[in-house]
Amino acid sequence: MKSIEETIKGRRSVRKYKPDPVKDETILDLLELATYAPSAGLAFGKEHPWSFVVIKDKVMLNRLSDVAKAYTLKFIENVPAFDWFRPSCQDPHYHLYYHAPALVMILGEKGSPISLIDCVLAAENFMLAAHAQGLGTCWVEWTKQAAQDKALMAELGIPEGLVIHASIVLGYPDEIPAAPERRPPHVIKWAR
């Protein structure tokens, strides 16, 4: 088993995947580990601070990718800072989920900052646990744009009141990118 340091330092955002499917059992193991993340919601007695949607259906992944790209294009019309992403969204061959065999969404309460933090912490657990098992992940923020398609969200069983806080593709890496150099921690002040 990898050490915690090896796991953290070795995790990469993977953008090229093998077509091999990920077993349900494996995904369920990862989801269980995600729920061991720190959680204010749990401390306050919430039964489910997180909810999950798992998509392995290729047709649905393609559709979600197309819908998210379309809404993203609209979004970046007014946000020039994201112009760099426009060509990708306009490219019909560009797949938002890199043809990964699975996508996992972590859902939380709409409008709750605590819920957002809970979900993001769970997402980090999920990604680290996946890496520890030889799987690759990549956080795909643009999925949230697809939430504007209410019919699609309903089809995915996402009820009103829950929002996508994290969207992570999952699969066996076909290519693992090099790690960008990390600078030493930037400590502004160390009060003693």
Binding site: K23, D24, E25, L28, E47, H48
Partner: protein, 900 residues
């Protein structure tokens, strides 16, 4: 789990039935033209809801649904309608609800005490014969006993298991002796029954044919429903009269996950006819609990049809073959947890410290060991199945851990003179003296040591290479035969370095494809064993004309395991394959072979995986083991693997172990068929013909010359040739694996890709299962060695001891445990041979008082005892629970019961 039909019904429940939900009352119209019943029926609507743990959706979604759509609405209805009653079938439902709604405890307590809110008396609804006897009994601990303890003044007296078309031989005795006198079943002929276990204890059972059948009446508009009810009552009238049953009629309203429903309009319509000329005509229709119905039914002493026997479960492909890893964990937990209880109880008694008994941990482990119900798979079944498996693996892990801890503590109290060598204490969790192989891991440096017993006699031993992964740790595995280890006790051995010459006899004869030792001549063939000759009995054990001994074969296996079918979905010989069709050869394994055993291996890659097989022929005990691995199984859909043992006994008889009993095929099943359920669904096969079967530890087959017993590591086993033109002799066949799919429209596949491991043991004996059952059980229940335990300062135990001795041959102890309610000791014993016996039980502690208690440790009745034990009659097939008070623990004011 109403299977395919009810996946649809679930949707319909909330569509077509929506107008009938509480608060949206049915429109009342008189039943024009319908004639009322001739008798003064008292009709009781038992408003219930069939609840799998999941199946309809993921477990979490179902828990939430039960809360918001079933229990909470039922509480609301009960608060405003004092006549309303509602039944939830499982105690687990209450546990889940209270966890979510601690604030509703008072309401629940009140309604339950009033008898209007009713909970099933068992934890859940299992496949009965899949569970061990102790696991079945724990269903009542986490059922009725849990309710009585957590909700004082409340009781649960009815076992609900209406979905599973299978009944265990001894279930009625367990229920009856746990204070649960009634049972609601279905998928069986409509009727009321006195359902007995072979000891004579019984429960009263009700089967509506199928549990959803009354929905036709209750789901119809009231006027139509009244007409249908009239017709139904008329159809029952003769049956009631013939059986002298009082005119009490149950209308069980139960559909998968059905909501509490207001039948007020139908009730008003019907009862309005009491004084006028309405459809009821003097009959009454009201809500009722199931308990009140059964009490009214039995009060007049009706003459009910009597049924005894096992109803072989039709839904067995859904567990063992399609969930091999999970069910293996459940079976192992079923053996480890009683062992852990037994030795933790002994440790506690030795240390005189009840605080060290791991009560909480034990409770959690037992609850996990029985958590899965009959609803494997279903919608989001991958989540349900994983949860079930995790629970069972947790139970198994806890069992191992608690057992190891207890054994170490006891081993530390044994006086083991250090001069005698490195100690190995061998523990026996079964209640009879036995000789079996033991393997321990020892430092590599000690691999040339001798094993000696406490008197210094050298015991034959054999050193194996380290296990994979332990090579670098310089460890070796030492195997020896522990002879005559006392029942529920231990025996101490020593490793010595005295260099005394090992006097191993010359190795038995081995030639190409042939092996012979004291017991057997074994002939190998490509893919299996051509011949096993028992030298003692002078008998050829196998008929290998069609299948070889321990031959693996594969079949097409289309089906779902559990669903709306009247007969087990049998595999077919499409794409049949077997190892004998391939060029496979057995290789002698020189590293695994030695004075204790000879090992032969085979490996063959097939289309969807690789088969590895190991035959281990023991030279010191009469036993041949077969280990099988299916490696890298790719999960091809609808395939099945079996292993064959063709027994050379044409027309031979077959028996197998069920929870706390034995079923002989063709003799011990319930008579007749399961009968019509609904529509075209008819369980039309004679119960005696149903196969394969759920088996605990072993199957036996015998003819006139010999008997053969096979210990099996799998839950589902067949005994008849599955191929066309079946041979007349039994073919014992563990079903290793089947890749089927849930019957739910959105259900998961049960593919089980990966590695699977199995183990089987064969022994032969005189004809009759009775001559092989102990070997059949013990091959699945290994001896537990503790190596190198230090001798503590307080070590006062001898080198060999039995903690509980039992005299009667057929009396087996299933557990020894600390009492749930005080510090006394519970001993559960059952009679397996079918003979009345005089039981002499001798515990290792001075006995102050002994009581006979119910299966859930209540209703104590003092029985005579002596300081050194007790003698009592143990009826044939009886399961008895004894409560023993060590002399020091007899509470003040208690007179030791009947002490001589």
């Amino acid at each position: 789990m109403g299977k395919g039909l009810l996946a649809i019904a679930f949707g319909l429940t909330f569509l077509s039935w929506a107008p009938f939900l509480y608060g949206e009352k049915q429109k009342t119209k008189p039943a024009a033209g319908k004639e009322g019943p001739d008798k003064d029926w008292r009709i009781r609507i038992i408003s219930s809801s069939h609840q799998d743990i999941a199946w309809m959706n993921s477990p979490e979604a179902c828990i939430a649904y039960r809360d918001t759509h079933c229990i909470t609405p039922a509480l609301e209805i009960m608060a405003r309608d004092p006549g309303y009653c509602f039944v939830m079938e499982n105690m687990l439902n209450l546990m889940e609800y209270i966890e979510r709604h601690p604030d509703r405890r008072e309401d629940i307590h009140r309604f339950t005490r009033e008898g209007r809110l009713e909970w099933g008396a068992t934890f859940n609804q299992p496949y009965e014969s899949l569970l061990s006897g102790e696991q079945l009994i724990r269903g009542a601990y986490f059922g009725r006993k849990w309710l009585k303890r957590n909700f004082p003044g409340c009781d649960a007296r009815i076992y609900f298991n209406p979905d599973v078309p299978g009944r265990a031989l001894q279930m009625q005795q367990i229920l009856s002796k746990a204070g649960i006198p009634y049972m609601v079943i279905s998928r069986y002929h409509k009727g009321f029954y006195r359902w007995l276990s072979p000891d004579g204890s019984s429960v009263v059972a009700y089967s509506p044919g199928h549990y959803t059948n009354a929905s036709a009446i209750l789901g119809a508009p009231p006027s139509e429903g009244a007409g249908l009810l009239n017709a139904e009552l008329t159809s029952w009238e003769g049956y009631y009269r013939d059986h002298r049953i009082p005119f009490e009629f149950p209308l069980l309203h139960s559909v998968d996950f059905s909501r509490p429903t207001d039948f007020g309009p139908l009730i008003d319509l019907w009862n309005g006819g009491r004084t006028s000329k309405g459809p009821g005509r003097g009959s009454t229709l009201n809500y009722s609990s199931a308990a009140r119905f059964f009490e009214a039914l039995t009060e007049a002493g009706p003459n009910l049809d009597r049924i005894t026997g096992e109803r072989p479960n039709l839904w067995l492909y859904i567990h063992g073959p399609t969930h091999h890893w999970a069910v293996s964990a459940q079976r192992e937990a079923g053996r480890l947890l009683p062992a852990a209880e037994i030795f933790n109880s002994i440790a506690y008694l030795l240390e005189k410290n009840p605080e060290r008994y791991p009560s909480r941990k034990m409770e959690d482990a037992w609850r996990a060991a029985i958590y899965p119900d009959h609803g494997w798979g279903g919608k989001e079944g991958q989540i349900t199945d994983r949860l079930f498996r995790k629970k069972l693996e947790f139970a198994r892990g806890q069992g191992r851990e608690m057992l190891d801890q207890a054994l170490s503590r006891i081993a530390g109290r044994i006086d083991k003179p250090s001069l005698k060598g490195f100690p190995i204490v061998v523990f026996n969790s079964l209640s009879w003296r036995r000789s079996d192989p033991v393997a321990v891991t020892i430092p590599w440096s000690q691999r040339r040591c001798q094993v000696r017993d406490s008197r210094g006699k050298i015991v034959p031993s054999q050193v194996h290479p380290p296990l994979p992964g332990q090579e670098e740790e310089r460890m070796a595995r030492l195997q020896f035969i522990a002879q005559d280890v006392p029942g529920l006790g231990y025996k101490t051995y020593y490793l010595t370095k005295d260099g005394a010459a090992t006097s191993h006899p010359a190795p038995p004869a081995r030639a190409a494809g042939f092996y012979e030792n004291t017991f057997y001549q074994v002939e190998f063939a490509p893919g299996g064993l051509r011949r096993i000759y028992d030298k003692e009995l002078k008998a050829d054990l196998l008929d290998t004309g069609k299948f070889l001994g321990f031959e693996i074969f594969t079949l097409r296996s289309i089906g779902n395991g559990a669903g709306e079918f009247g007969r087990v979905q049998q595999p077919t010989v499409d794409h049949f394959d077997s190892l004998s069709r391939h060029k496979t050869s057995w290789e002698h394994d020189p590293l695994g072979s030695g004075p204790l055993q000879a090992v032969f291996r085979l490996r063959k890659k097939l289309e969807n995986g690789t088969i590895e097989q190991k035959i281990i022929i023991s030279n010191k005990i009469k036993r041949i083991d077969c280990e099988v691995a299916i490696l890298d199984w790719d999960g091809a859909p609808y395939r099945e693997f079996r292993i064959a043992l063709p027994v050379n006994a044409p027309g031979g008889r077959v028996a197998y172990e069920v929870p706390m009993g034995i079923v002989e095929v063709g003799r011990d099943e319930i008579p007749g068929t399961g009968g019509p359920a609904y529509g075209n669904l008819n369980y039309d096969e004679l119960c005696s013909e149903i196969r394969p079967r759920e088996v605990q530890n072993f199957l036996s087959a015998w003819g006139t010359d010999f008997g053969l017993t096979l210990s099996t590591s799998v839950a589902v086993n067949d005994y008849r040739d599955p191929a066309p033109d079946p041979v007349p002799h039994p073919i014992l066949q563990p079903v290793l694996l089947a890749s089927r799919r849930s019957c739910h429209g959105e259900g998961n596949w049960y593919l089980q890709e990966g590695d699977h491991h199995y183990r089987f043991s064969l022994t032969s004996h005189d004809p009759g299962w009775i001559n092989g059952y102990r070997l059949g059980i013990q091959a699945n229940c290994p001896l537990f060695p503790v190596a190198g335990a230090p001798t503590g300062d307080d070590a006062d135990l001898p080198e060999e001891k039995s903690f509980f001795e039992v005299s009667a041959a057929g009396a087996l102890i299933s557990t020894v445990k600390k009492c749930e309610d005080d510090d006394s000791i519970i001993v559960r014993v059952y009679e397996i041979e079918g003979k009345d016996a005089e039981l002499v039980l001798t515990p290792f502690f001075p006995l102050g008082k002994a009581e006979l208690v119910s299966m859930i440790e209540e209703e104590a009745k003092a029985i005579p005892c002596r300081s050194d034990g007790l003698t009592m009659r143990l009826g044939h097939h009886a399961i008895e629970t004894l409560k023993l008070w060590p002399r020091r623990d007899v509470p003040k004011g208690h007179t030791p019961g009947g002490e001589k």
